[in-house]
Symmetry: C2
Subunit: 113 residues, 2 copies
DNA sequence: TTAAAATATGCTAATATTCGAATATAAATA
DNA sequence: TATTTATATTCGAATATTAGCATATTTTAA
Protein backbone atom coordinates (compact mmCIF):
# COMPACT_ATOMS: atom_id res chain seq x y z
CA UNK A 1 0.00 0.00 0.00
CA UNK A 2 1.39 3.37 -0.89
CA UNK A 3 2.26 5.54 2.11
CA UNK A 4 -0.31 8.01 3.39
CA UNK A 5 1.80 10.93 2.23
CA UNK A 6 1.73 9.64 -1.32
CA UNK A 7 -1.98 9.01 -1.15
CA UNK A 8 -2.59 12.60 -0.06
CA UNK A 9 -0.29 13.92 -2.75
CA UNK A 10 -2.13 11.95 -5.38
CA UNK A 11 -5.52 13.30 -4.35
CA UNK A 12 -4.18 16.82 -4.25
CA UNK A 13 -2.82 16.52 -7.76
CA UNK A 14 -6.06 15.15 -9.13
CA UNK A 15 -8.17 17.54 -7.09
CA UNK A 16 -8.48 20.35 -9.60
CA UNK A 17 -11.40 20.76 -12.01
CA UNK A 18 -9.20 21.18 -15.08
CA UNK A 19 -7.01 18.21 -14.18
CA UNK A 20 -10.01 16.02 -13.54
CA UNK A 21 -11.36 16.90 -16.98
CA UNK A 22 -8.00 16.22 -18.57
CA UNK A 23 -7.73 12.85 -16.86
CA UNK A 24 -11.32 11.95 -17.71
CA UNK A 25 -10.57 12.63 -21.37
CA UNK A 26 -7.42 10.55 -21.23
CA UNK A 27 -9.33 7.59 -19.84
CA UNK A 28 -11.10 7.59 -23.21
CA UNK A 29 -7.93 7.72 -25.25
CA UNK A 30 -4.85 9.58 -26.32
CA UNK A 31 -5.07 13.35 -26.77
CA UNK A 32 -2.65 16.00 -27.87
CA UNK A 33 -2.44 19.45 -26.32
CA UNK A 34 -4.42 21.18 -29.02
CA UNK A 35 -7.23 18.68 -28.53
CA UNK A 36 -7.52 19.89 -24.97
CA UNK A 37 -7.66 23.48 -26.16
CA UNK A 38 -10.90 22.67 -27.92
CA UNK A 39 -12.91 21.83 -24.85
CA UNK A 40 -11.06 23.52 -22.03
CA UNK A 41 -11.80 27.22 -21.90
CA UNK A 42 -8.37 28.10 -20.54
CA UNK A 43 -5.17 29.29 -22.18
CA UNK A 44 -2.70 26.95 -23.83
CA UNK A 45 0.11 27.77 -21.37
CA UNK A 46 -2.21 26.96 -18.52
CA UNK A 47 -3.15 23.64 -20.07
CA UNK A 48 0.51 22.92 -20.54
CA UNK A 49 1.17 23.63 -16.88
CA UNK A 50 -1.50 21.22 -15.77
CA UNK A 51 -0.20 18.53 -18.11
CA UNK A 52 3.32 19.04 -16.81
CA UNK A 53 2.13 18.77 -13.23
CA UNK A 54 0.27 15.54 -13.96
CA UNK A 55 3.29 14.16 -15.74
CA UNK A 56 5.68 15.15 -12.95
CA UNK A 57 3.57 13.10 -10.60
CA UNK A 58 3.64 10.10 -12.87
CA UNK A 59 -0.05 10.11 -13.71
CA UNK A 60 0.39 10.63 -17.44
CA UNK A 61 3.07 10.57 -20.08
CA UNK A 62 3.36 11.42 -23.74
CA UNK A 63 5.03 10.33 -26.90
CA UNK A 64 5.89 12.50 -29.86
CA UNK A 65 4.04 12.12 -33.10
CA UNK A 66 5.52 14.58 -35.51
CA UNK A 67 5.16 17.83 -33.70
CA UNK A 68 2.28 16.65 -31.60
CA UNK A 69 2.67 15.55 -28.03
CA UNK A 70 0.31 12.71 -27.54
CA UNK A 71 -0.58 12.38 -23.88
CA UNK A 72 -1.84 9.18 -22.37
CA UNK A 73 -2.72 7.76 -18.98
CA UNK A 74 0.06 6.02 -17.13
CA UNK A 75 -1.21 5.37 -13.60
CA UNK A 76 -3.91 2.69 -13.43
CA UNK A 77 -5.41 4.14 -10.27
CA UNK A 78 -6.79 7.09 -12.20
CA UNK A 79 -9.73 5.44 -13.96
CA UNK A 80 -10.67 3.66 -10.75
CA UNK A 81 -10.63 6.87 -8.74
CA UNK A 82 -12.61 8.73 -11.37
CA UNK A 83 -15.15 5.96 -11.44
CA UNK A 84 -15.77 6.14 -7.71
CA UNK A 85 -15.84 9.93 -7.91
CA UNK A 86 -18.59 9.87 -10.52
CA UNK A 87 -20.82 7.46 -8.63
CA UNK A 88 -24.16 8.60 -7.36
CA UNK A 89 -24.67 7.84 -3.72
CA UNK A 90 -28.29 8.07 -2.75
CA UNK A 91 -27.95 8.67 0.95
CA UNK A 92 -25.58 9.38 3.79
CA UNK A 93 -24.15 6.61 5.88
CA UNK A 94 -26.42 5.49 8.72
CA UNK A 95 -25.84 7.22 12.02
CA UNK A 96 -23.75 4.96 14.24
CA UNK A 97 -25.35 2.79 16.90
CA UNK A 98 -25.96 4.84 19.98
CA UNK A 99 -22.97 5.48 22.27
CA UNK A 100 -20.26 3.31 20.75
CA UNK A 101 -17.24 2.93 22.96
CA UNK A 102 -14.42 5.32 22.25
CA UNK A 103 -10.95 4.66 23.54
CA UNK A 104 -11.49 7.16 26.34
CA UNK A 105 -14.48 5.17 27.38
CA UNK A 106 -15.72 7.79 29.79
CA UNK A 107 -19.39 8.48 29.55
CA UNK A 108 -20.10 11.07 32.19
CA UNK A 109 -23.52 12.20 33.32
CA UNK A 110 -26.43 12.68 31.01
CA UNK A 111 -26.21 11.63 27.39
CA UNK A 112 -28.03 13.81 24.94
CA UNK A 113 -28.28 12.58 21.42
CA UNK B 1 -23.13 12.65 -11.02
CA UNK B 2 -21.74 15.39 -8.86
CA UNK B 3 -20.34 18.31 -10.85
CA UNK B 4 -16.62 18.38 -11.62
CA UNK B 5 -16.11 21.32 -9.30
CA UNK B 6 -17.50 19.33 -6.39
CA UNK B 7 -15.43 16.31 -7.30
CA UNK B 8 -12.28 18.42 -7.25
CA UNK B 9 -13.25 20.01 -3.96
CA UNK B 10 -13.82 16.62 -2.41
CA UNK B 11 -10.41 15.33 -3.44
CA UNK B 12 -8.75 18.46 -2.21
CA UNK B 13 -10.39 18.14 1.18
CA UNK B 14 -9.40 14.51 1.54
CA UNK B 15 -5.95 15.11 0.10
CA UNK B 16 -4.07 15.77 3.33
CA UNK B 17 -2.18 13.11 5.30
CA UNK B 18 -3.81 13.96 8.61
CA UNK B 19 -7.29 14.04 7.13
CA UNK B 20 -6.77 10.74 5.39
CA UNK B 21 -5.74 9.18 8.68
CA UNK B 22 -8.73 10.68 10.43
CA UNK B 23 -11.09 9.39 7.77
CA UNK B 24 -9.46 5.97 7.75
CA UNK B 25 -10.01 5.70 11.51
CA UNK B 26 -13.61 6.77 11.15
CA UNK B 27 -14.26 4.04 8.59
CA UNK B 28 -13.55 1.66 11.49
CA UNK B 29 -15.93 3.36 13.89
CA UNK B 30 -16.80 6.39 15.94
CA UNK B 31 -14.00 8.36 17.56
CA UNK B 32 -13.91 11.38 19.81
CA UNK B 33 -11.31 14.12 19.55
CA UNK B 34 -9.14 12.86 22.36
CA UNK B 35 -8.96 9.46 20.66
CA UNK B 36 -7.37 11.19 17.67
CA UNK B 37 -4.87 12.88 19.96
CA UNK B 38 -3.52 9.47 20.87
CA UNK B 39 -2.30 8.49 17.43
CA UNK B 40 -1.92 11.80 15.62
CA UNK B 41 1.26 13.56 16.59
CA UNK B 42 -0.19 17.02 16.09
CA UNK B 43 -1.74 19.54 18.47
CA UNK B 44 -5.34 19.36 19.63
CA UNK B 45 -6.28 22.67 18.00
CA UNK B 46 -4.87 21.43 14.72
CA UNK B 47 -6.88 18.20 14.97
CA UNK B 48 -9.94 20.28 15.68
CA UNK B 49 -9.26 22.38 12.61
CA UNK B 50 -9.07 19.34 10.39
CA UNK B 51 -12.25 17.90 11.90
CA UNK B 52 -14.06 21.18 11.36
CA UNK B 53 -12.92 21.31 7.75
CA UNK B 54 -14.12 17.77 7.11
CA UNK B 55 -17.43 18.53 8.77
CA UNK B 56 -17.93 21.77 6.83
CA UNK B 57 -17.60 19.75 3.66
CA UNK B 58 -20.16 17.24 4.79
CA UNK B 59 -17.78 14.30 5.05
CA UNK B 60 -18.26 13.70 8.75
CA UNK B 61 -20.51 14.77 11.59
CA UNK B 62 -20.64 14.28 15.32
CA UNK B 63 -23.05 13.75 18.15
CA UNK B 64 -22.53 14.70 21.75
CA UNK B 65 -22.05 12.07 24.37
CA UNK B 66 -21.68 13.79 27.69
CA UNK B 67 -18.86 16.14 26.97
CA UNK B 68 -17.37 14.07 24.24
CA UNK B 69 -17.87 14.89 20.60
CA UNK B 70 -18.24 11.59 18.85
CA UNK B 71 -17.31 11.96 15.22
CA UNK B 72 -18.54 9.58 12.56
CA UNK B 73 -18.45 9.21 8.79
CA UNK B 74 -21.30 10.78 6.90
CA UNK B 75 -20.40 10.63 3.21
CA UNK B 76 -20.49 7.09 1.82
CA UNK B 77 -17.97 7.90 -0.90
CA UNK B 78 -15.18 8.08 1.67
CA UNK B 79 -14.66 4.36 2.35
CA UNK B 80 -14.82 3.65 -1.38
CA UNK B 81 -12.23 6.29 -2.19
CA UNK B 82 -9.95 5.13 0.57
CA UNK B 83 -10.25 1.57 -0.63
CA UNK B 84 -9.14 2.46 -4.15
CA UNK B 85 -6.40 4.65 -2.72
CA UNK B 86 -4.98 1.78 -0.72
CA UNK B 87 -4.92 -0.69 -3.59
CA UNK B 88 -1.66 -1.99 -4.89
CA UNK B 89 -1.31 -1.66 -8.61
CA UNK B 90 1.42 -3.81 -10.00
CA UNK B 91 2.16 -2.01 -13.23
CA UNK B 92 1.48 1.06 -15.31
CA UNK B 93 -1.19 1.12 -17.96
CA UNK B 94 -0.04 -0.27 -21.30
CA UNK B 95 1.30 2.26 -23.73
CA UNK B 96 -1.40 3.13 -26.24
CA UNK B 97 -1.51 1.54 -29.66
CA UNK B 98 0.86 3.33 -31.95
CA UNK B 99 -0.32 6.62 -33.40
CA UNK B 100 -3.94 6.73 -32.39
CA UNK B 101 -5.92 9.40 -34.19
CA UNK B 102 -6.18 12.67 -32.29
CA UNK B 103 -8.81 15.21 -33.23
CA UNK B 104 -6.24 17.24 -35.11
CA UNK B 105 -5.59 14.23 -37.23
CA UNK B 106 -2.45 15.67 -38.74
CA UNK B 107 0.46 13.31 -38.79
CA UNK B 108 3.20 15.27 -40.45
CA UNK B 109 6.47 13.89 -41.58
CA UNK B 110 8.48 11.37 -39.66
CA UNK B 111 7.07 9.70 -36.62
CA UNK B 112 9.45 8.94 -33.84
CA UNK B 113 8.25 6.86 -31.00
C1' DT C 1 16.23 30.84 -44.55
C1' DT C 2 12.16 32.27 -42.91
C1' DA C 3 7.86 31.46 -41.10
C1' DA C 4 4.37 28.86 -38.86
C1' DA C 5 2.65 25.39 -35.71
C1' DA C 6 2.67 23.07 -31.38
C1' DT C 7 3.91 23.33 -26.98
C1' DA C 8 6.76 24.72 -22.90
C1' DT C 9 8.93 27.90 -19.51
C1' DG C 10 9.72 31.91 -16.45
C1' DC C 11 7.92 35.42 -13.88
C1' DT C 12 4.46 37.69 -11.18
C1' DA C 13 0.39 38.87 -8.57
C1' DA C 14 -3.56 37.08 -6.33
C1' DT C 15 -5.28 33.80 -3.52
C1' DA C 16 -5.46 29.68 -0.60
C1' DT C 17 -3.61 26.36 2.70
C1' DT C 18 -1.32 25.11 6.74
C1' DC C 19 0.21 25.19 11.43
C1' DG C 20 1.38 27.21 15.82
C1' DA C 21 0.26 30.01 19.65
C1' DA C 22 -2.90 32.02 22.44
C1' DT C 23 -7.36 32.21 23.86
C1' DA C 24 -12.26 30.99 24.23
C1' DT C 25 -16.24 28.10 25.33
C1' DA C 26 -19.11 24.84 27.49
C1' DA C 27 -20.28 21.27 30.53
C1' DA C 28 -19.30 18.63 34.54
C1' DT C 29 -17.28 18.17 38.92
C1' DA C 30 -15.31 19.49 43.41
C1' DT D 1 -18.40 29.11 42.57
C1' DA D 2 -13.88 27.69 41.03
C1' DT D 3 -11.65 24.15 38.53
C1' DT D 4 -11.04 20.72 35.25
C1' DT D 5 -11.99 18.44 30.97
C1' DA D 6 -12.95 18.36 26.19
C1' DT D 7 -12.88 20.83 22.32
C1' DA D 8 -13.20 25.03 19.30
C1' DT D 9 -11.89 29.67 17.46
C1' DT D 10 -9.03 33.42 16.12
C1' DC D 11 -5.02 35.35 14.30
C1' DG D 12 -0.79 35.51 11.98
C1' DA D 13 3.25 34.00 9.45
C1' DA D 14 5.11 30.80 6.23
C1' DT D 15 4.34 28.47 2.30
C1' DA D 16 1.89 26.65 -1.75
C1' DT D 17 -1.21 26.98 -5.63
C1' DT D 18 -3.10 29.19 -9.47
C1' DA D 19 -3.61 31.87 -13.72
C1' DG D 20 -2.07 35.30 -16.87
C1' DC D 21 1.30 37.22 -19.64
C1' DA D 22 5.26 37.38 -22.28
C1' DT D 23 8.62 34.73 -24.28
C1' DA D 24 11.22 30.59 -25.56
C1' DT D 25 11.89 26.11 -27.92
C1' DT D 26 11.37 22.72 -31.37
C1' DT D 27 9.99 20.88 -35.52
C1' DT D 28 8.15 21.12 -39.94
C1' DA D 29 6.70 23.65 -44.06
C1' DA D 30 7.21 27.21 -47.57
Amino acid sequence: MRPIGKQAELLKVIGHPVRIRILAELTKGVKCVSDFEEFLEISQPNISQHLTLLRNHGLIDYYMDGRLRCYYLLDPIVPDLLEVLSRDYEESLPAPACCPVTKKGKYPGKRRH
